[in-house]
Structures are given as structure tokens and as C-alpha cells.
Point group: C2
Chain length 209, copies 2
DNA sequence: AGGAATACTTACCAATCGGTACATTATTGT
DNA sequence: ACAATAATGTACCGATTGGTAAGTATTCCT
């Protein structure tokens, strides 16, 4: 198993004629817009600018390609979530999460919504593995936020009666709902209003004005 | 065009050997669990206990069958939304919506989540019509709630600075997020905690204790 | 220059997709 | 009894699905 998780470029043989990262980015766009099952191999190949045997040689199969695009997604467009956890107060944490979600979910340069939500929400049995991988990603985010809110509670940043698990679930529900709203056509301003509504009622300490 | 929208039972010819409403109910379950595109005709036929020609004769095609199941869905399991609008105060309106969603989204007797959310969130071009029909359903709910909140504001039930459109969008986002949570395995108690978090911070007048 | 190794192109595969033609069976009206 | 009508079961349709075999082209190493 390589340390980077990426197959190292071989020193011999014909060199690859396309950029794997750019191809992944294009595949991500297709999966993002159409979901795992709705994206066909011709769709993917056309967007990636390669043909099927190249796709299979480089990425394994459709399922593995999808999982790799999700990895890319978490490191690039959706990169607001985990960094937000490092903010000083729970107020700022949720503020950055919700505002980041509003921006990326309704970014006109990307498909609307969130691929981790809409990539495989309801699907046939053949996509069960992918569906559960996305469930795990969503749950991981919830657990991470819950841990952060427990810390906030311990620090007195959240009141003693606060329930970090319930609050984390609530915030994740709002984030996921914002993704649905974005796929329905909501724009960034509209999503920021949702974010603002949540933030205004946040039980944690607010920053000085 | 018939008044009921249902083809009247013909007086001559071989009688239908299955109950259309029960078959629709079974089809709804399949679409609910697998989504519009993830549900294949064999899936549907098996669940409905009929075969393809009967399905097409009775319901038109897959798309029309889906739209009919959505109609059934709105009148049956998901029947908490519009009735909730008739409550006396905005507090009770959102309380009933959120608690109703918690119950039906995580009802162990039904598939998890909400078919109007997950039926066709991200899909191929061939499902565009269905996808937009669901978007329209979601938007209609949002508009109806917004109208109800405008009334609440006019009645002094909501403060003068309240923005009904933003609040309605927020509540719908939470409802849709709860559906996503349910498909991820959240149970009724967990969803009720989300509902309670929202209700506790609702800006409208709270009922007497 | 000549392997060895890798990627690309074309053409194909079985399985499944949504949808239907056709013959058969069951019912009503006369 | 007999036509008219409608639902059923079987068997099929072309198109598309994810995936691959095989031949060709391009590179590195000796």
C-alpha cells in the first residue's frame, strides 16, 4: 500500500496522456450532478476526455472512481467542514460551517448541492456499498462536530444543559437540508439566510461586537 | 377528464385482478426505498404482484406510476404537512410539522426518509421531469408555509422583524435534512431531538404552560 | 536497435433497462 | 349463445448498462 494512496507513476511504458487529477475533477462534476447511478460510463468518459479502458486502467471501476472523487471532493470544494472545527468558539464553528455550506452548495461554478448528500441517497441494491460509504462520511462529520461541541461545553462555551449530540445532529440536518435546497435552485443569498437563522439562535457564547 | 382523476372502472371486459390502490402503495414503497431511477420495472412488478403489461395498462408508464405514487404519498404517510398549517399559532404549526416529520421519516413500518426528497435528487437526464416535479412539490410546501407565517406575522404571533420567507426556507431545510438523517439510520427519538432544538428557539409566541 | 512495459483505440460481451405485440382468459350486454 | 371489451401471461424488442479482449502505439532501459 503506497503512502499517498495514489499509484506512483511508472518509470517505463507509454506515459498517460491525461491528467488524473483533472480527470477526477471532471468525474466529480458528473457524479455531483447526476449521482452515482445516474452517471453512466459514457457520461464520465466524455467529461473526462478519455475512453473506458483508460478509465478502468487508471481508476479500477465505476465504484472505485466514485470513491476517489469523493476523496477529492472532501479535500477541495467541500473543504470548509473540518477546518471550521478549529475555530475558537462553537459559535464560530457553526458559523463557518453554515456559511461555507451556503457558498459551496450554491456556487455557480459547481453543480448545486453536496455530492455526499445526493450522490447515492436512494438507489438500487447494486449501489449499496457506495450508499453506505456516503452514510459513513456524513456520520463521521456529525461525530467530529459532536466531539467539538463536547469540548465547547467543557470549556463553558456552551451552557451546562446543552446536548452536544443533539446539537451536532441538528447542525448536520441543516447542512444536509441546505444541500437539498440548493439542488432545488436556492441561491447563495437564500442559503445564507438559512445559515443566519440558525446562527442567531445558537446557544453558545457570541463573539464581542 | 374525470372528476376524480381516476379512470372509472369499466362495466364490460375482464375485471382487474388486483387492487390498484394496494398496488400503488407497494410501488410507493419501492420508489421510496430505491428512488425513481433505482427502482426497476421488475422490482416494481414483483412488489405490486402484477406483471409489466398490467402495470402499463393500469398506470401508463414508469413516470406516470411514480407521479401517482407521489400523490398517494402526500395523502397518506406524509399527511402531516398541510394539516399542520391550520394550527392556531406559528409555534404549533412548526411543532406539528417537525414532530410529524420525525415520526414518518423514521417510521419502522415504512422506508426511511421522504420520497419527495430522495425520489430523484440527483439523476440522469431521462429523469429530469420527475426531478422537477419533486422540486415543485418541495417548493409548494415552502410557499404554503411562508404564506402561513406571513399571516402569523400580521397577527402579531411573530415579531415585526421576522422574515417569513427566510423562516419557511429554514424550516423546510430542517425537514429535508431530517429526511437525509433518516436515510442514514437516525431513529425517531434522534429526529425528535432535532425537532425540539428548532422548536425551542422558535421566535413565535409559545403556548401557555 | 531491440525488448519490456504501459497506455490507447476499436470492437465487442452478457445483462439489464423501459416498453410492447400477441395470443389467451374472463367478464358484460344483447 | 355470441359478439364486444378488457385484463392477463408469455415472449419478445431495441437501447443502454458496466465491463473487457485484443491489437496497436509510445515510452524507458539495456
Amino acid at each position: 500500500m503506497s503512502a499517498t494512496g495514489v499509484t506512483p507513476a511508472p518509470t517505463v511504458g507509454r506515459p498517460r496522456a491525461f491528467d488524473m487529477e483533472k480527470a477526477l475533477q471532471k468525474a466529480l462534476e458528473v457524479f455531483w450532478r447526476k449521482g452515482y447511478e445516474g452517471a453512466s460510463l459514457p457520461d464520465l468518459c466524455e467529461a473526462m476526455g478519455i475512453n473506458k479502458p483508460s478509465l478502468y486502467a487508471a481508476f479500477g471501476n465505476k465504484e472505485q472512481l466514485f470513491l476517489k472523487t469523493i476523496e477529492l471532493y472532501e479535500n477541495r470544494p467541500c473543504a470548509f467542514f473540518y477546518p471550521a472545527l478549529e475555530r475558537a468558539t462553537s459559535y464560530e464553528v457553526v458559523q463557518h460551517m453554515l456559511c461555507g455550506a451556503a457558498s459551496t452548495n450554491a456556487d455557480p461554478d459547481n453543480p448545486p448541492g453536496c455530492v455526499i448528500v445526493q450522490g447515492a441517497l436512494a438507489c438500487s441494491e447494486s449501489a449499496t456499498f457506495v450508499k453506505e460509504a456516503l452514510i459513513a462520511k456524513r456520520r463521521a462529520g456529525e461525530v467530529a462536530l459532536c466531539t467539538r461541541l463536547e469540548q465547547a461545553k467543557a470549556e463553558g462555551d456552551l451552557p451546562a444543559h446543552a446536548e452536544p449530540a443533539a446539537l451536532a445532529r441538528y447542525i448536520l440536518a441543516v447542512l444536509q437540508g441546505m444541500a437539498v435546497q440548493a439542488t432545488s435552485g436556492a441561491n447563495c443569498v437564500e442559503l445564507k439566510q438559512v445559515a443566519e437563522t440558525v446562527i442567531a439562535a445558537w446557544p453558545g457564547k457570541k463573539p464581542e461586537l
